[in-house]
Amino acid sequence: MISKYVDSASSFSGDIDHLIFLITAIVGFWFLLAEGVFFYLVIRYTAQDGVRAQYISGEDPKEKRWVAIPHYLTLGFDVWIIFSAIGVWQEVKQTMPQSDETVRIIAQQWAWTFVHPGADGKLDTADDIRLVDELHVEKGKIVQFELQSRDVLHSFSVPVFRLKQDVIPGRTIRGWFKATQAGGYDIQCTEICGIGHAIMPARIIIETPEDHAAWVLSQTPATASITTPTTQTGGMP
């Protein structure tokens, strides 16, 4: 449903799409049913000469069941949605699979800096690759990210991953993704961060293992050092 318009490019994006489809089916059915009954009643009981309205208090259990039964059905469907939603939430936000690579993502007014670990696979070494507004990841690898902000709140959002996480100054927030499809896509800042909020786009480049290795090699002779992070901040609990 969503994937018809927005590519599905992470290991969990399909699960989120599935959850959205499930909710659409459930609430869509109830919405249409409620609107159908509503319009039927309005048309059926439009005032007619000589027809008096009925006197119904709605306090009798026999009458009340017209409301009580939908009430319990709503509860039942809510429970179904809750379990499905929490399942997806735990997969995306509450688990941290063993990662193949760690990148550091630093947000500021109004740019993203992406620190890639480089050839040695470790951050904070001489061969780190720093890029502004471009993140390179390898398809099929589990990437852990560390989000930091230098000033205000930002939010790291990759629609094709169905992933979003606010970035908070003074903390490092960790999360993960596993890209499943090569290509170049938008990264957005989805938390208003001042007058440049709209000009904070970035791109994520998802590469096949060969392309990614070639890219790392091309960047390795320390060509891309732009700025050194001045604030090394404390960890999140």
Binding site: V42, R52, I168
Partner: protein, 578 residues
Amino acid sequence: MSSTATETHGHGPGDGHAHDAHGHGHHEQNFFLKYFWSTDHKIIGFQYLFTGMFMALIGGFAVYAFRMQIAFPGMSVPGYGRVTATDYNALVTTHGSVMIFWVAMPVLIAALGNYLIPLMIGADDMVFPRLNRLSYQLFLLSVIILICSFFVDGGAFGGAWTSYPPLSAKPEYNLTPLGAPLWLTAVAIEFAAFLLGGINFVTTLMNSRAPGMKMFDVPIVVWMIIIASILFMASVGPLVAGAVMLLFDQTVGTGFFDPKKGGDPVLWQHLFWFFGHPEVYVVLLPAMGIVAEIITTFSRKKLFAYKTVIYTAVGTGALSFFVWAHHQFIAGIDPRMANIFSVTTLLISIPVAEMMFVYIATLFGGSIRLTTPMLWALAFIGEFLLGGVTGIFLGASGADIYFHDTYFVLAHFHYTFFPIAFIGAFAATTYWFPKMFGRFMNETWGKVHFWGTIIPFNFIFIPLFLLGARGDHRRIYDYTHFPDLMKPGMQDLRILATLSLVVLLAFQIVFLVNYFYSAFRGAKAGANPWQANTLEWQAPSPPPHGNFPDGLPNVYRGPYEFSHPDRQEDYWPQNSAS
């Protein structure tokens, strides 16, 4: 003064006590004292109503300007000029805060509460009329401060109506050194104003009900305004405290929300949403109450399961204190918290859904008259249903990861708030207009305005649901920087939404003309033109100072005794002895 209300109850017609208790005759009042320094609850209601309508023009103009920029980036907007990124943020912030704090709140709670509560419970005025006057004066002060903030150096605050620090806390981040503190001051003063109003509403209901009016004889709209006032008073404390802390962060350099000084920006979000979510129900409940009054009157039906409506409203209110963090699923709170708040958020759908079921059930077996107020009330049900069900996507934590901060949220929010703040307010205005002015609004133009509002409303927000699902994120003044958001058709949807907005705004002129023309020249209406049961319809139209010149009413039955089998007429006023 209205402590005399209980004494005056039961006095016979022509007693005139209610008048004299106020100690000043009408002839002594000059224009200024009567309309600007009044303690009459009806005049204060009008003051809130007209201030709210004026603010709606500001909020409407702001949305016109920034929507034009989204649809046609870089254009010079007719009547505004070029919208820069700075302007855009200020316009978005102004639209959001004005429509919620200075339109929905004053119109639905303050204006209707002030106008209706004493009339509907058979009292001559509020219990604390001077407190009531002070409440409006504080509110007016907040309006003046807000409007001043548009013209100061750096311009109006542009950090969104949620005002998240550190952006809102430091001028070097938000670039509005004066706009931000003025905005915050205006919000805080406004809350003080509504606190005074809320105390007054609750006390009045407890003490000034007509003799014989038991708790379950009180009309639903009064119940709803009272429950809403209690919710407001219980939730606003943390926000006012937060606002003071944020004001200190802005002006005297404290660090409550500054991580460099040991503060925490997320704390503000908790304080804000602890108020901000109950606030949704603070405005929803009065609108629900309005709809209950109108659908019973115009379907000539007793409200289906009256007590259930009250219980669900109380249940909704209680639950609303436990859902706030669903605004913060991805804000950096402990992810385990999201599970708890996901459960409470989905559970709150049950009482709200039940209220909708009850209203739909009320229509069964009715004799429905599609007058303008009835059309608005029915439209509330039809449109709010969509707003309600789309909330499930956002309360479900797993799906919110994708939808958070997209136009899907925005469209959901407007599908709840537009029915509340505008459809509800139009329903109330058209329904109680004959009482307020003693005249009818024009039905034909009323229906033109109705369709001219409802149709474009759907054409604004259904495209925005689709855009949100396709990844449009919020508060972006120009999407051309995002290749994935400029795919074929996406800009067309943005243009469709904007043009529909322009149509909707244009049709509001019909309403304003109809409103003011009818107030002076409309067809005369009697005391009870809709043949309704509640007490306000037993007072003359418009009600004089003191409300019930023939003596305060006694109450013998509930408010919705329509089409009772023992009676020839299909209505049975609450104060009719037989």
